[in-house]
Symmetry: C2
Subunit: 355 residues, 2 copies
């Protein structure tokens, strides 16, 4: 198979955690052994969690060697209070201590990944944060080849390719770079101050109104998105009609974002649940300026807000259900350009660029 | 990676040619070398074309050995008039002579696939048609392991697993069998007489009316579907309003299907283009009975026909564009259960089971 094929797998994996990694970029990584067999497909899942590369490397080592996997699980359980007993669940779901994993990999890899290849959607980092650089880890493990979609333009993190090349690793850059750039768009935007997107749920026949439209999996994802957002913007009309809570109850340890109610009138019934959510500030304004001062902002609403969106709002996330609703559809003059779709059970969530 | 991962790749590949293989089943196949590296992903593309397994095997051998690839291309060009000069194009696009390919593989494989694995969505066939059985080919090439989603229940073709096991091949059956069965539903239905489906194009906000909605890639696919259908059913109203041609001009060598106009009145302006298409019979009836006597039938229409569909129509194919249209949406009381989606540039084609 071609480099494009493996990079597409890495890109698809990264999109599953798009925005959820804020303020970090969404990054995916695929590791192949020296014979070209896929060992792992992983991604960066959340700020504070492992980067995509060590996550995929840890998974790859556990795939190759059950001995490595069981000794990792045993030592991790000894060092930390870990509920999961199963290595697959542990690798997928837990916020593993990055430093511990990095050190464990370096100490126990036994050259199992000598001659391996990695496909990474973004240049591996070169900076010492909680762990040493990802690029050094890859070089230390004896990887033969690293394929990258895009260079990292962040001054602190860039330089990974240099580290890899100096260690004798073959580096190919620019594979599916257009798709890789689309994946990075939010990251580039919030690094320059702000990334704003509009979220809406639609039935299969385009209805946005009349009660809950998206399924449980979509709504859980949406609560996880709310939880990483700095601010949520909603129109005064929607607040008055829907009387929403706008919290993150469907996620574990969710943080409810600040709210900006976009409205001329400042008069609201304060018994509307959103005003009662803890640790949240609610502001009411007929200007959106304060929203674009925040890093990651989600606009929630329906037809009215969609058609009033300023140009600062770059993307639309549509949760589209597979059911038809007997009601009037959403109408808009805006143009949607599809970027990527993810399935949530029978719903399809599609990210669009909006024009 | 798990068996599920590779089987999903095979299933996805097969769906790209769903119905287009009529009267054969849609089948996908993935070949891995003895080290677990993916060599090829292929499918049965059309009746008369190679089965999925020899197609994937030929592609795999060309991937492993450029010598094999160039000698195949050379000998093929000598034996047949072949326009394509490029091996990739040849494998993907040409209706290669199955007998020639089968014999060439058997004569020239040089044990390159010894120890390989295959993932096939349907039990490899055991019958001698234009070529000897696929199961024998796999066994003769020294495959170590074959993973299958579903047994073939067709009496003539079944028995492939027996051939494989007798040759010492490890066979695993039932991987992703539910998804594999969904893929086979049309095949099972037309083997029992008839498979009927409804096709519609919708804008992102559910509009089915007002001129062309789907893009060129979707319409080309739809013409290819028409070309394999025995009959096309359309409502009298649509014929009067749209004055359609209902031909297959966007496909090469397309055959325009017979038409049943579903209408009480037999009165139609015979200058409507569909009546002028060559080699086609057009009938007008207020009964759909004659449609369900045919093997593969496509219903084309909009809201009226959708809501009047009898239970014999099992699936709906929705070509959904990414653009919003400023018009009233399609309304229906029917329930759609999504089965699989395929991208056509910015359009998404989704197959649904309809209830």
């Amino acid at each position: 198979m071609t480099d494009d094929f493996y990079m597409q797998l890495a890109i698809n994996e990264a999109w599953k955690h798009q925005l959820l990694t804020y303020p970090n970029p969404a990054v995916g990584c695929v590791v192949l052994d020296k014979n070209g067999k896929i060992l792992s497909i992983s991604s960066h899942k959340k700020a504070g969690f492992m980067h995509a590369e060590p996550s995929a490397i840890l998974q790859a080592l556990c795939t190759i060697s059950s001995e490595f996997a069981s000794s990792f699980l045993r030592e991790y359980q000894m060092s930390f209070e870990l509920k999961s007993q199963n290595i697959t669940q542990t690798l997928e779901n837990e916020n593993l201590d990055a430093k511990f994993c990095y050190d464990f990999i370096l100490k126990n890899h036994s050259n199992l990944l000598k001659g391996a290849s990695a496909y990474v959607t973004l240049e591996p980092c070169s900076h010492h944060g909680k762990t040493p650089p990802c690029a050094s880890l890859i070089a230390n493990l004896g990887f033969k080849r690293v394929v990258i979609a895009n260079y990292d333009e962040n001054e602190i993190a860039s330089g990974g390719v240099k580290i890899l090349k100096e260690a004798g690793v073959e580096v190919v850059c620019g594979v599916l770079s257009k798709l890789g750039s689309e994946l990075l768009e939010p990251f580039m935007a919030w690094q320059s101050g702000n990334f704003s997107f509009f979220k809406i749920a639609l039935s299969a026949n385009g209805v946005a109104t009349g009660g809950v439209i998206s399924n449980q999996a979509s709504r859980t994802h949406m609560h996880a998105l709310r939880s990483v957002c700095d601010m949520l913007v909603i129109s005064g009309n929607t607040v008055r009609i829907d009387r929403p809570t706008l919290d993150t109850r469907l996620t574990k340890d969710g943080k409810s974002p600040d709210i900006l109610i976009y409205s001329r009138s400042k008069n609201f019934d304060k018994s509307i649940p959103l005003f009662g959510v803890k640790d949240r500030s609610v502001s009411i304004s007929d200007s959106l300026k304060s929203a674009f001062d925040r890093g990651l902002v989600m606009f929630e609403g329906a037809q009215g807000l969609l058609n009033a969106l300023p140009n600062e709002v770059k993307w639309v996330l549509v949760y589209q259900s597979s059911t038809l609703k007997n009601a009037q559809n959403l109408i808009s003059e805006r143009t949607f350009e599809p970027l990527h779709s993810v399935k949530f059970d029978d719903d399809t969530a599609t990210w669009y660029r909006i024009r």
